[in-house]
Subunit: 346 residues, 2 copies
């Protein structure tokens, strides 16, 4: 069984290497007839291109753009950004590099502007974490007309022709959060702490989480009162006093959930008032893990954001270099449950 090459299929079809190469990379300039003939015999013989030869002959570097919210240290997106490094190493031998473009996750303008920069850089592929429904649509449209493949992470917005999506199921994650918080036991009241400015966001992923959370409560603990409190992430003092005021008014609350990655914001308060409160949050930020280890936070639901970007980049690389499509378009990831005793090797 000989390795079959581009020459073989050129000979078999009666065409030339050049033409075969053109259909292989469908860069047009080929008649329908030739195209079909080549495709058919490729399939028939099970031809697979030789990567080494290809890479050797090509020798130019393509780049994959990452379009992510800006990542201040200690935030969720910093975790995600870590996946870039891993992926870099993996795709470097394929003559691919990554390049990051950041935007302010609270400003649609900034997102639009970042999109423009991405397009300007003429990438071979794009990984994006979208926050704004409309702007993302427009951008996706543009990518498609330029036939630049793109993958989504974190939030799945309905955009045309995305290559693949990687993230956790938002609704289910809220459901799970509720289960971790109250189990089966009857609980009279719980508190959901929310972030102020999230209110204004167009596409807030915590909306779905909240609805999953609510449904679990309805199904398992219908009598429970669910209270909300909004805090300002920029203002720790205000957060403290808001919590103080809350517990003055509702001293019986023993269960708190936060449906975003910021549970660490309420940790100082909790540690200053040693009531025995069960707290469940999301994501393995260092500050969250510390609180978990100290026992202030009972459980975290985590989602390996670095894996999400890693996988998205890999999928794109496969697509770009090997013309290979991912097995599944929507890849819902496992939700990791972290407690004190399994957080160490995370």
């Amino acid at each position: 069984m000989e390795k079959i090459t581009i020459n073989d299929i050129a000979r078999l079809t009666g065409l030339s290497k050049g033409t075969v190469d053109r259909v292989l990379h469908n860069r047009g300039e080929v008649s329908k007839k030739s195209y079909q003939k080549v495709m058919d015999t490729i399939k028939e013989l099970g031809y697979e291109p030789n990567l080494y030869a290809s890479l050797l002959a090509r020798a130019e570097q393509r780049t994959i753009a990452l379009l992510l919210p800006a990542h201040e240290p200690g935030t969720y997106w910093e975790l995600a950004a870590k996946g870039e490094a891993k992926a870099q190493a993996a795709i470097k031998p394929l003559s691919l590099v990554t390049r990051q473009f950041n935007y302010n996750q609270y400003s649609a303008d900034s997102f639009r502007e970042a999109c423009a920069r991405v397009l300007e850089s003429n990438p071979a592929g794009v990984v994006m974490a979208p926050m704004f429904q409309y702007e993302t649509q427009v951008f996706a449209q543009e990518l498609q007309t330029r036939s630049i493949p793109y993958s989504l992470i974190d939030t799945k917005l309905e955009t045309p022709g995305y290559l693949s999506f990687y993230g956790i199921p938002a609704y289910k994650s809220g459901y799970l959060c509720a289960a971790m918080l109250i189990g089966e036991g009857p609980v009279k009241e719980v508190l959901i702490v929310r972030i102020m400015r999230d209110k204004g966001r167009q596409s807030d992923p915590t909306v779905l989480r909240r609805s999953g959370f609510m449904d679990y409560m309805l199904e398992h603990n219908p009598g429970c009162t669910i209270r909300s409190l909004f805090i300002d992430p920029e203002d720790p003092a205000a957060t403290d006093s808001a919590l103080d005021a809350f517990f003055d008014e509702f001293p019986g609350v023993r269960h708190i959930a936060m449906l975003n990655s910021r549970v660490h914001l309420i940790v100082p308060f909790l540690e200053r008032h040693p009531i025995d409160i069960r707290v469940v949050g999301f994501d393995n930020l260092d500050a969250n893990l510390d609180a978990l280890r100290r026992g202030t936070v009972s459980a975290l639901i985590a989602q390996r954001p670095e894996e999400q970007v890693h996988q998205a980049i890999q999928a794109l690389a496969d697509r770009i270099v090997f013309q290979r499509f991912p097995e599944k378009t929507d890849n819902y990831q496992h939700m990791d449950i972290l407690i004190r005793y399994n957080a160490e090797d995370y």
Copy 2:
């Protein structure tokens, strides 16, 4: 800054490509003088060979051997074997293939014999899940003298010069299991169900798990009595009656742990006797997941064995093709906690 090639250094030294190649792979037939000259200018110019050109010119397929316990359907090692397929796809473009060699995990002879077959196949690298301390040492030794790189998965035995290890921390996993089983609450007695023939094994990974389990109990629940029961995986009827007898004698037991992947073996019994018992086991076998969904098993600790073999293969491929060494030698993986509400997307 131009890429410098073998031609450059041929020109610079006044020798030919052929000679340069000879010193590059020190296969002799070169005068001392020429050798020195080449070496010097290589260092001077910081020459790095182009892998693709090299690989292309060489054009042979190398194979990575997997040395794993035989995997009957529905067993742990079947899960692990799944990782092979994924990795196959990833390394195929590098002209690498995998080939599996199986042994009976209860027979050292069979292991030794499998090792022999692996060596005979002259692999470019080896991934192994070792079960027998001494035999593994001997084999590892042999691999090292032939300078065949190898990685370990699942169980880390102290062998010389392994490339990397992938698995969960055994002791900690037992500790975690105990935590999942009894939490902080005081419990009077717990049952550990064990597999009969594991007793005779030389390198039983559950030994460490058991000691982690015991330590958690000592630290958090010192008064608790820990009972053991041995069952025969081949004999469901005997398993049932053993459990019957056990519960006749100790009707108060409400907590069961199994420190291996076989918790499904006791599920039929449990479902026939609807007492409210908390059960914790290991690994995401289908039968275990089913029991988890039905609520018979409360929690599973899982370790993504397919990822372990996938990563081990990748590491080897990187080593073989790109001469790259893994970032970390010992890669302890996260222990996944599975409960009903997060098992679906696993």
